[in-house]
Assembly symmetry: C2
Homo-oligomer: 418 residues x 2
């Protein structure tokens, strides 16, 4: 259903929208009994209801009773590819193009360094000033390995297209901006990169599971993404990486470890890469964390991708409308694009007292987060966020602002959260 | 207690040794109710009794109720350093020299590449032919980044000392050999490396938690190790890394990610390394897996290091004596050093039908493992292995060999386990 909001919005309308929501039933698949309005799933997703039992079974039965035999008998060894195959369906890739391994930052390094090694005649990693800091640091780390030959070029978002030339080895971008929620046109940028012979590497941390992502249609070359935000895999969940089939024979994992070997268990002294996506493994897979992540992915696979995208648009549109109508007078300014195709499942509001606002809201049971210098971030994961939650959050923001509680929140207590 | 075995050994003697064992009580801290004689803790350690409850609390309470607030309120953000500080006590390091992060292979890459970056005038990574394959692959991966400037030199074990010269940037060794259980003299080799201006990087995967390790006394420079073997952290547990204080200002994490930044949550566009060991973080910590690992480490910290080493010696000595007395006639040959100071908590027996022997033993409830071409590996983790287990294992090996069951075990069913 495409949500078109009427001119007048009230809580009853939100209740109606929830009743008509085709994803409404999925909220019950999460462990929610706290009355908290949780708008920080873009930082750490909610706990699925089945995660605790699945992990308990893995620990008690598979590890405790199966012991080392579970590497084969319980499928542990295959789990990074099995779960990668499921994530492939979430991001529009083929089953044998996605692998669960390491962290987003390590995966960015592996993919990015592989590109630079494979393109010795090119000298630029192109990215934008506002990319997620870790992505920038990783790009600089890669360049440091190739000092003198490769440099990182950071440009403004509107200059990306014109900065693409035949010196660019790789275009490194985050699909949805962590600060503003603005979404890149992945297809246009991937096409433009390809047209100059560069490869595109996408960080999907703020888009996979939040909005429809279709790597194949977009013609993306490489990607990675975080498991603990919209995939609901739990704190520090492993990341996933995507290597397009057309590049799997060309690119080589630059941190070649034993589990990416064609035959890890014959313990050969020389490395021979496994065929396909498995060669991107390095060390042993984080089996317990993979089990937790799989529960989150299984819920996501029950959601129709189109419904997911429409609900993300509906929730964010609703919040922006309420911000316009009820919050503008307190000094809030919407920093997220109004055009639905240009944003993720997040709305950011700028406010001079932003930190105090977020603190006061948390004290009042509405959890969002704050990003320097003045950004209040609110995530609306479509799997478990209701339209009434959006209404109630705006309502409580009005109360907080009228009471002045945001000015009393202490700056010293800034939460250290991603 | 120093175990000195008498000339005549029987099961009653083993029972007596168990009664006198100062570590005997720690076996109850593990979830063992299966009648299995588990001699594969050098591949995947046993499940501690408290792990399931600890992880359940993390998932249900800290994640489910605390949500994103638990990064600070439940100490998640600090957990890699807190647990690193505990592991430091296991390996003879200072609290601020050890960090839990990534996998052993990734940590080897980070530490090794850092050394090569810091020593631009040196051209050799020195290691031995028999080093664990992943360590060799990682060394080659590092060299590939510095193609033309750095190469990996592999020599035989007895040639290591003479191969050390002023071209060596780093001596990369595994403390206890994964195939034979042979242990290096860490102090002599670290000293020799230092005397030519090279740094030593030790893989402690088969020694930490198995035998006393004292990085400070040995003068080791860098180290890493596996969390899921003798540390009992669970399948795919994160690894730890050690950077000596005297190198922390000089060496720089070559995969600089946001959590190693001095101020990750101000999201600065330029990287500024955190002071000390935290700069070796890259991505977000695997919080669930860290909680599981911490339970294993806590048990280890209750064991006196000296008692641990003496029991490892006693168990392995007992098994070798039984092998001599009762298994030699079936064609078994002890591949592990007889001298106690030169071995870990593992005994390897060579046998032409080694694979069939291990299969048949597993069918009979004695779990060891097999390594090409002919090595039957038996690990004796001193925290939960009893002297009677050693006796019973040898007894069942005699039964298996007499019955010929090892010849019926099918080669095709080779388990894929580390």
């Amino acid at each position: 259903m495409t949500v078109t909001l009427p001119d007048v919005i009230d809580r009853t309308l939100c209740e109606d929208l929830d009743r008509a929501d085709p994803l409404a039933g999925l909220r019950e698949r999460f462990d929610i009994d706290d009355g908290i309005i949780y708008l920080d799933g873009n930082s750490l997703g909610r706990l699925p209801a089945d995660t605790a039992a699945r992990v308990a079974r893995l620990i008690g039965t598979e590890w405790g009773r199966g012991l080392v035999r579970s590497w084969t008998d319980a499928g542990w060894m295959h789990s990074p590819r099995r779960l990668g195959g499921k994530i492939a369906r979430v991001v529009g890739a083929a089953e044998d193009e996605v692998l669960v391994t390491d962290s987003t930052s390590i995966d960015l390094f592996k993919l990015g360094a592989a590109v630079v090694q494979a393109r010795p005649q090119r000298s630029v990693i192109l990215t934008e000033h506002g990319n997620f800091p870790s992505d920038l640091y990783i790009a600089e780390s890669i360049a440091r390995f190739f000092e003198g030959r490769v440099r990182v070029e950071r440009v403004a978002r509107h200059q990306l297209m014109s900065a693409l030339d035949d010196q660019v080895a790789m275009l490194l971008l985050t699909h949805v901006d962590f600060r503003t929620g603005e979404m890149h046109d992945m297809r246009a940028l991937s096409d433009a990169a390809r047209s100059v012979g560069a490869l595109s590497l996408w960080d999907l941390s703020h888009s996979a599971g939040a909005v429809p992502v279709d790597l194949h249609t977009a013609g993306a070359d490489l990607a990675t993404g975080c498991g603990y935000k919209y995939l609901n895999g739990g704190p520090g969940a492993p990341a996933f990486l995507f290597v397009s089939r057309r590049l799997q024979a060309e690119l080589r994992n630059p941190i070649a470890g034993w589990l990416g070997h064609a035959s890890p268990f014959t313990f050969e002294p020389e490395y021979r890469a496994a065929p396909g996506i498995r060669s991107w493994m390095t060390g042993s897979p984080p089996v317990i964390a993979i089990a937790a992540l799989e529960v989150g992915i299984d819920i996501l696979l029950e959601a129709d991708a189109r419904a997911l995208g429409e609900k993300a648009r509906g929730l964010t549109e609703l919040f922006m409308r309420l911000a316009d109508a009820r919050l503008q007078r307190f000094g809030f300014e919407v920093a997220t694009p109004r055009e639905a195709a240009r944003r993720g499942a997040q709305v950011s509001l700028r406010h001079a007292d932003g930190y105090g606002v977020v603190r006061a809201l948390i004290d009042d049971g509405v959890i969002g987060d704050f990003r320097d210098p003045d950004v209040c971030r609110f995530g609306f994961p479509p799997l478990y966020t209701r339209y009434v939650d959006v209404w109630d959050a705006a309502e409580r923001m009005v109360t907080v602002m009228e009471s002045g509680a945001h000015r009393r929140a202490e700056y010293a207590q800034r939460a250290e959260i991603t």
